[in-house]
Each structure stands twice: as structure tokens, then as C-alpha cells.
């Protein structure tokens, strides 16, 4: 049963797709667990988006040390090399085929040709993509000087190109704020950060950047239009009401040569959708169990493909967990569970993962709230679990550990965030 008898064939226990922190951590763990693993990444280097994140803020949980993105990536990469994990860069996965539970094929292309790899399990860690200007409804001229934050970051920190000198940033999440600082540090004038919501999207420490660099923040505003010949010359901003509707007459223009879109990330899961993996519309990633296995047996997912993480530490943690899941799957022919416990979203929970728990081990639940609140409790009423939190914000992912013995006897769990 060879799909392409004409192209070279390889065979592994596990193929890891994506060499960012999720994929590297997964490959390292899989190797440690004795699995025969191949890691594939399309870039010329490992690390995913980390090599372009030259600021600190990575690794506090995972390495108990504050590192920059490249430092975090190189630690994982060194471990990978030390363990002798096989990997290929400049290797793009084109297609995944799922023939049966323990027979999967990954087709990839590389400068040495197109290959097919047979695998028993796949760990999918392909990251996310950024939302772009068209997706957020910006009209006007299609000119140079409009970049997503990640693209601008790549231009500056990988390729050494300065995109412009008068900058407007859409979105006050961490990524937007970090880019505001990045531009300011290079001597550019950041004229405004525009935020649709009535509160800033980023972590408190990143919101401080605005004060440090004297950058105006417009809450409850949005950029609706860009005009220019050749290059951005000005952007139109409009105030919005509580329902996010534009307030007529509130428009004003800001002169700028560059518009940075930092309007959120979307998990890259098209290849999973094609093989029938069920997607959760709330996370944008697959529906998974506590081993991060998707609805297609033997296909695991980790990192930003699972759900958008703000901390790389959790991403690496998910990679390891997926590898452990793959090991169990390969050895036992499936993830063991006496009964699957469904996890449901309660009050003020916008998204969460995993969606089903086996009850066989401890588990971390990752979740985000819908709206900011102060002095709250995160509760799982069915098991009487409570966690006190001074503030919660949609931008900050919450994580709670549930112990196997706590959840063993339940049918379903609800997670809610309510006033304490």
C-alpha cells in the first residue's frame, strides 16, 4: 500500500511536524522515551518563531531563568543534537495521509527531493499564522508599509531591514507592544497603538512599555482605512462603542509610513482538517484529549497549533506531553481510558483545552477568559476545586493542574471563572 511507489520512502515511529519549541520539545521527549523520531521544519533553521524574538521574557517556568527567544531555542536545539534526534530543515510537509491507526504517511519536500515517511504516530506542531489587514476589514490602498507584527519582526531581527520610521500599531497584545518597543529602540517614532477593546490586551509588564517610550494608546478605537501612493501615508482611526460599532463623526487620520497589524494568531491546521481532524471553533485548534491526541487516533498536536499560547514554557510542556501520548499510543495501540470525561466551558471561559480527559493521569487545563475581572475564583464545581486569582484577562492564558485521583470519579467537568 504505497501511495507513491516512485518516491523515496522512510520509516519512523513518530514524525514531528514543525521545529519550533513545541516540535523540538516533542522530538527530544520522544527520543528520550526510546522512540525512533524524525523532526521536519520548513525553515533553514530550527526554533520556529523564537529566533526572531530577540527580547527577553522566555523560559521563566521551563528553565527557571529569563531568556531571549534565540536563547530558549538554542537550549532546546542543543539538547536535540546531543540526543542525536534526526531532523531536517528546509523540509516542508505537503500532506498527511491517515491510512489506519498505526499507518500514516507524511509527504515532505526538501532540496534533496520529495519523500514519503511512514509513521505510527504524528505530532503536529506547525505553529500559527497572524491575522492580516484584509481579515480585520481595513479598506483603502494596497500599498507598501503594511506588515503583520511577525513579518516586521522577521524583517528587522532576521534580515536586518528597518521597515519605516513613523509607525502605527494595530493591537495592544504582547506582540504589538513588544513591536512598539522594538521600533522605538531603533529610533522610529511610534505614533500610536490602536486597540479595539476598552482595555489593553497585553501583560501588565508589557503595557508599561507604552509609558516608558511615551507612546499613545487609543482604547476602543480601530484602524479602518489606509491611504497612500506606493507607500502608507496615513491611516484612518475611528472610535467604537461598547458593542464595537463605529461611532460616526469620531474619525481622525494619523500620518505614518508604516502600519503594523498585530491582531491575533490563528492556529495552522489546514492539513489536519483535510484528514478529518475535528476543530474547536473557540481555540481554532483541534479538539484533543489529555495526551493532546486529536479526534484522529495517533495524530497529536502541541503548541500554537493546539491553541494560541502566550508563554513558550507551556508550548514546550505541550510538546513533551504529546510525545508521551505518542509513546503510549504506539505501545498500547491507543490511549487508555476507562471513560472519557468531557470538560465544558462555564461562566467567563472563552476557550479551553484539552476537551476530554482519560482520568488516567494528572492533567493541565489551559484556558482563557472572555472578559477581564478582578478578585475571582477559577472553579471546577464537580470536584470542588477552587483557585483564587487577583486579576484575569483574556490576554493571559490560565493553567490549572488536576490530579488523577481528583477527577477519576466524575462524568464531566465544568470550568468557570466567577467573583470570589
Amino acid at each position: 500500500m504505497e501511495p507513491f511507489p516512485q518516491i523515496p520512502m522512510l520509516s519512523y515511529d513518530v514524525v514531528v511536524i514543525g521545529g519550533g519549541p513545541a516540535g523540538m520539545a516533542a522530538a527530544v521527549r520522544a527520543k528520550e522515551l526510546g522512540l525512533n523520531v524524525l523532526l521536519l521544519d520548513e525553515n533553514d533553521y530550527l526554533g520556529g518563531i523564537l529566533p526572531q524574538c530577540i527580547h527577553p521574557g522566555f523560559g521563566l517556568h521551563y528553565y527557571k531563568e529569563e531568556l531571549t527567544g534565540p536563547e530558549f531555542a538554542s537550549r532546546l536545539a542543543r539538547k536535540l543534537v546531543e540526543l542525536g534526534v534526526e531532523y531536517k530543515t528546509a523540509a516542508r510537509v505537503l500532506e498527511i495521509k491517515n491510512y489506519s491507526d498505526l499507518e500514516k504517511v507524511v509527504i515532505f519536500t526538501s532540496p534533496s527531493g520529495v519523500y514519503q515517511v511512514w509513521a505510527k504516530a504524528i505530532i503536529y506542531a506547525a505553529g500559527a499564522r497572524e491575522r492580516h489587514a484584509f481579515e480585520i476589514g481595513i479598506t483603502g490602498d494596497r500599498v507598501a508599509g503594511i506588515y503583520t507584527a511577525g513579518e516586521a519582526q522577521m524583517l528587522m531581527d532576521i534580515y536586518g531591514v528597518l521597515p519605516g520610521k513613523e509607525i502605527v500599531i494595530v493591537g495592544s497584545g504582547d506582540v504589538g507592544l513588544i513591536m512598539a518597543r522594538r521600533f522605538a529602540l531603533e529610533g522610529a517614532k511610534v505614533k500610536a497603538v490602536i486597540e479595539l477593546m476598552p482595555y489593553p490586551g497585553g501583560l501588565a509588564r508589557n503595557v508599561m512599555i507604552l509609558r516608558d517610550f511615551d507612546i499613545p494608546l487609543y482604547l476602543s478605537h480601530k484602524v479602518v482605512e489606509v491611504r497612500g501612493k506606493g507607500r502608507v501615508e496615513r491611516v484612518k482611526v475611528v472610535k467604537v462603542d461598547e458593542n464595537l460599532n463605529e461611532i460616526p463623526g469620531s474619525e481622525f487620520w494619523i500620518e505614518a509610513d508604516t502600519l503594523i497589524i498585530s491582531a491575533g494568531l490563528v492556529p495552522s491546521v489546514k492539513k489536519l482538517k483535510k484528514i478529518g481532524v475535528e476543530i474547536d471553533p473557540a481555540t481554532g485548534g483541534p479538539v484533543v484529549n489529555d495526551r493532546l491526541e486529536t479526534s484522529v487516533p495517533g495524530i497529536f498536536v502541541a503548541g500554537n497549533s493546539l491553541l494560541i499560547n502566550d508563554l513558550v514554557d507551556y508550548v514546550a510542556e505541550q510538546g513533551e506531553l504529546a510525545a508521551e501520548g505518542a509513546k503510549e499510543f504506539i505501545e498500547k495501540g491507543g490511549i487508555e481510558s476507562k471513560k472519557w470525561i468531557k470538560v465544558e466551558k462555564g461562566e467567563n471561559v472563552r476557550l479551553l483545552a484539552p476537551h476530554y480527559l482519560s482520568g488516567e493521569g494528572d492533567v493541565y487545563l489551559y484556558l482563557r477568559v472572555s472578559k477581564p475581572m478582578e478578585d475571582v475564583e477559577l472553579r471546577v464545581p464537580e470536584i470542588g476545586k477552587k483557585m483564587r486569582l487577583p486579576v484575569v484577562k483574556p490576554a493571559e492564558m490560565l493553567r490549572i493542574k488536576l490530579k488523577a485521583e481528583e477527577i477519576k470519579n466524575t462524568e464531566k467537568l465544568t470550568v468557570e471563572v466567577v467573583k470570589a
Binding site: V114, R129, E130, H132, F134, R142, L155, V161, G164
Partner: protein, 496 residues
């Protein structure tokens, strides 16, 4: 002695003319374009349809009526010779109420007059057989199987590559500023890059054809822009199998719902008249886009959520005084041929326009055209990684490893595709490296992420192959540079 021909404008009209005239031994053909690359005028942003030729009234618009159907027939041949991406999927002009059938009857009759083959009215049952997901309100349609779609810029590129291979000279980034006329005869054109001598000047300048005509002292027409706006959706959104039109109104063919040739659902255009001076106003507008949305919904109720939009854009139709194409040798200036007011269906008509112009050179100017003994009608399409089977890709990789390396992940465009695009840009004389030149040849940056992953990589390749600094690479020609300098330029107090 050769007759020198200068064609102003490398849009679909100028490029088609260049290709047809490249057949003749006794012509020396120069194709002049002010933009950095070919096909960036009106030909860049349109619905990309090869129309059926049934809707232009031969009494009112004889040129349009005659050339549209001829053009359609010629395209069926040209797309094969030139390997232009295309699909012949036919069109349905949909009736939503009984009165619509009166209009469709008229179109059917007019189509017969214009010589359109194979059209017929279909009933409710057949219309859903042809297009299962059409609005339930549909009660029938006019079915026009000869309608198709092509890649309009790829078509211009293909025509110019073929023309250059057959000896045509291109002058890009060359703007015609004056036309030299002596004793009632053209002598050539003055440009920003010097004087180009010519015995025949063909004005195929799109929106600016009125300005060019005035340079030759001809001022009986004016061109005003009529804007049309579009939405394009991600390729996982289901679209129709056929091109869907509403029943037309006296002013417009209406908002089309179609799956364009790369597989994306596309809706548009509306029609908004702009004053003559707004020929550069290609901005999309909230109002225009909403109008398109509402219009499209009538035929295709299951429009996707707005988050599935990958691009919106606008095009400008060059609307001439009188409404018909103006294609003729002007009597007061010998050697000056207008190909002006080429509004819709100009893309469809282009091959016929080109033959019409060859006829004008013979009949009105009295120059007997001698065919070359060896004229090459063929042109090979650029290599697209996404079209190769794995074993073909491995063959290509053996010759050049770059064909195995993906740059644009949404559309699987390889580095090899991009390097080949750059080679082809240079072949037709593209001097300024721009991302759009690569985009229109390879489809890189046109997918779900709109280039946020691959644009920086394309910039690197362009910078390397053109030997310029990466920040000097442009998005779409001078004035649209990617950056202002290296990342420390401002701190050093410099600015590019």
C-alpha cells in the same frame, strides 16, 4: 526597410497587439510601458472572465459586439499556445423572477445576432443540476457554456514573453510624454528615457488613452474611470462551479459570484463612476464592498464569515465617451492608431482587437504585412511546484535543488519557481525588483496568510538576484520600497 511600430501600454491590449504584430517580417515592434512590469494597469484588477459575447448591442456598440465573441473564440486557441492558466466552466445568468426571462430572451436573441454558439435557456431543475448551491430563489437561467476565466496578468506576461521571443523590444518604466507629429504624420514618441522613433504609434494606454490621443492632437473623446470592487475568500470556502451573473440591468452586468482559477471564491464588481482626474484612485471603500456583499448574497446566500476574507481590491474600467471601443487609424495624423476606451469586455476582446489592428495597418495605412518564415506561436508556462507530481518534482530537484524548497507555504511555491520568475522578469526587461512581479508569476503571497511568512524570503531572493540591498526591493515599483534602510539606519542618523 522595416516599418517601426511603437505600442504605448503593455496591458492586455498592447501585449496582444505586440504578439500579433511580431508575426510580421517587415515590422520592428517596440512595446512601451510606464510601469515597472507588464499588466499592471486596468488589466491587473478585473473579473478575469472571457465573456460570452451575448450582451453587447451591435447597433449601439458594434465594436464591442463584434470583437467580444471573436476574442472569446481566439482565447480558446491562445490559452493553449501560450499555456495561460484558464478554465472553461461556462456561465449562468440567473433569473430570480418571471420578468427576468424577458431580459434573458433578449440576451439570447442578441447572442444569436452576435454569433454566440450553444446558448440556451434552462429551467429551474436544470439550473440546480448545473449549480447545486445556487440560491433557492432561482427559477431558471441563461446557460452560456463558452464563458471561461483566465489569469489576466499571467496572460499579459505570456503574451509579452512570446512577443519578446519573436523579436519585440520592450521599454519598461518608460513613460510617453509627447508624440512627435510632422506634416500630419507621426514620427515617434518622446519619453522619460529619450526619443523612440516610430512610423506607426498605437495608443493602447488604457485609462490614459485620452491623454495620449491629445498628445497627437486628437481630442474627440474622454476616458473616465468606473470603479469596481471585489472580495476574495480563502481557498477552503466552497464556491460555485460556474460563473454566476444576475440578470443584467441597463447599467451593469451585475455582481458576479465565481470561483476564480486558483480556486478562491470571488465576488464583485459593483460600478461607481469617478471623475476623469481620479485615474489612480484604486482604494477600496466600505460602501462599495458592502454593496458587493449584498449583491452577491442574492445569488449565493451562504457567503462565508468575514474572517474568511483574504483580500479585497478595486479596479477601474476605462469608460470612453460613447461607450464603444475606439479602434481606428486617425485620419488627421497618419500612422496614429487609437485602441482606446477598452472597457469591459476588453480582456475577452484583446486577441480580436490585435487582429483588428493588424487589419487597420494593412487596410487603412496600406502597409502590406509579410509573415515571418519562422514565427513561434508557443510559450512554455513557468514551472509551478504545486502543479508537479512528486516524481516530477524529484526530476526538477535533481537539476536544481531550489525546486524542492518551499517559500510560500499557502500555495506551495518553491524557491525554484521564484528564481525562474526572476529570470523571466529579466527576459522581458523588468529593471526594478518588486514582490508583485514575483507574485503575479508564481502566486506566492496570494494565499491564506497574504505573504506574512514568505514576503521577507522573496525580498531576499530579489535582492540577491538583482544585486540590491533588501530594503530597496519594492512591493510594486519605485516609491513602494520595503524599508528605509538597514535596521540601524535611524540610530546612525541616516535614512535611505
Amino acid at each position: 526597410m522595416k516599418t517601426k511600430v511603437a505600442i504605448i501600454g503593455a496591458g492586455i491590449s498592447g501585449a496582444s497587439i505586440a504578439r500579433v504584430l511580431s508575426k510580421y517580417e517587415n515590422l520592428e515592434v517596440h512595446l512601451i510601458e510606464k510601469a515597472p512590469d507588464v499588466g499592471w494597469g486596468v488589466s491587473k484588477a478585473n473579473t478575469a472572465l472571457i465573456h460570452g459575447g451575448y450582451d453587447d448591442d451591435p447597433e449601439k456598440y458594434p465594436m464591442r459586439a463584434k470583437l467580444c465573441i471573436r476574442g472569446n473564440r481566439l482565447w480558446h486557441q491562445w490559452v493553449k499556445e501560450l499555456e495561460i492558466p484558464h478554465v472553461w466552466n461556462g456561465a449562468l445568468i440567473v433569473a430570480l423572477k418571471e420578468e427576468d426571462f424577458d431580459e434573458l430572451e433578449k440576451l439570447l436573441e442578441r447572442g444569436r445576432q452576435n454569433g454566440v454558439p450553444e446558448m440556451r435557456l434552462v429551467d429551474r431543475e436544470e439550473v440546480f443540476h448545473l449549480e447545486p448551491n445556487l440560491t433557492r430563489e432561482a427559477i431558471g437561467a441563461l446557460w452560456v457554456p463558452i464563458v471561461g476565466q483566465i489569469g489576466p496578468i499571467p496572460a499579459v506576461i505570456a503574451l509579452v514573453e512570446n512577443a519578446v521571443a519573436n523579436g519585440v523590444k520592450t521599454h519598461l518604466e518608460t513613460e510617453v510624454r509627447e508624440i512627435k507629429v510632422e506634416n500630419g504624420e507621426v514620427k515617434g514618441v518622446e519619453t522619460n528615457n529619450g526619443f523612440i522613433e516610430a512610423d506607426i504609434v498605437i495608443n493602447a494606454a488604457g485609462l490614459y488613452a485620452d491623454r495620449i490621443a491629445r498628445m497627437a492632437g486628437i481630442d474627440y473623446f474622454e476616458i473616465h474611470p468606473r470603479k469596481g470592487e471585489y472580495w476574495i475568500f480563502d481557498d477552503d470556502v466552497p464556491g460555485p462551479k460556474r460563473v454566476l451573473f444576475p440578470t443584467p440591468t441597463p447599467i451593469s452586468k451585475g455582481i458576479v459570484v465565481t470561483t476564480e482559477i486558483s480556486g478562491h471564491l470571488m465576488i464583485g464588481p459593483n460600478a461607481q463612476d469617478l471623475p476623469p482626474e481620479e485615474k489612480e484612485n484604486l482604494a477600496t471603500t466600505k460602501e462599495g464592498l458592502e454593496q458587493v456583499w449584498e449583491g452577491a448574497k442574492k445569488l449565493w446566500p451562504q457567503l462565508p464569515p468575514r474572517s474568511k476574507v483574504i483580500r479585497t481590491f478595486a479596479g477601474l474600467r476605462p469608460e470612453p465617451t460613447g461607450g464603444d471601443f475606439i479602434i481606428k487609424a486617425e485620419e488627421e495624423v497618419w500612422g496614429f492608431i487609437n485602441v482606446a476606451g477598452i472597457r469591459s469586455p476588453g480582456l475577452t476582446s484583446a486577441p480580436a482587437i490585435a487582429h483588428e489592428v493588424a487589419g487597420i495597418i494593412e487596410n487603412s495605412l496600406g502597409i502590406e504585412l509579410k509573415e515571418k518564415e519562422k514565427w513561434n506561436p508557443y510559450r512554455k508556462e513557468i514551472t509551478h511546484f504545486f502543479m508537479m507530481r512528486p516524481e516530477q518534482a524529484n526530476e526538477a530537484v535533481k537539476k536544481n535543488p531550489a525546486y524542492g524548497k518551499i517559500v510560500c507555504r499557502c500555495n506551495n511555491v518553491s524557491e525554484g519557481d521564484i528564481l525562474e520568475a526572476i529570470e523571466r522578469m529579466k527576459f522581458i526587461g523588468v529593471k526594478t525588483p518588486s514582490v508583485d512581479s514575483v507574485k503575479f508569476r508564481t502566486k506566492a503571497t496570494t494565499g491564506t496568510c497574504q505573504g506574512s511568512f514568505c514576503r521577507p524570503k522573496i525580498i531576499q531572493l530579489l535582492a540577491r538576484e538583482y544585486g540590491v540591498e533588501p530594503w530597496k526591493v519594492t512591493l510594486k515599483g519605485k516609491g513602494s520600497e520595503i524599508g528605509i534602510g538597514d535596521v540601524k539606519a535611524l540610530l546612525r542618523g541616516e535614512e535611505a
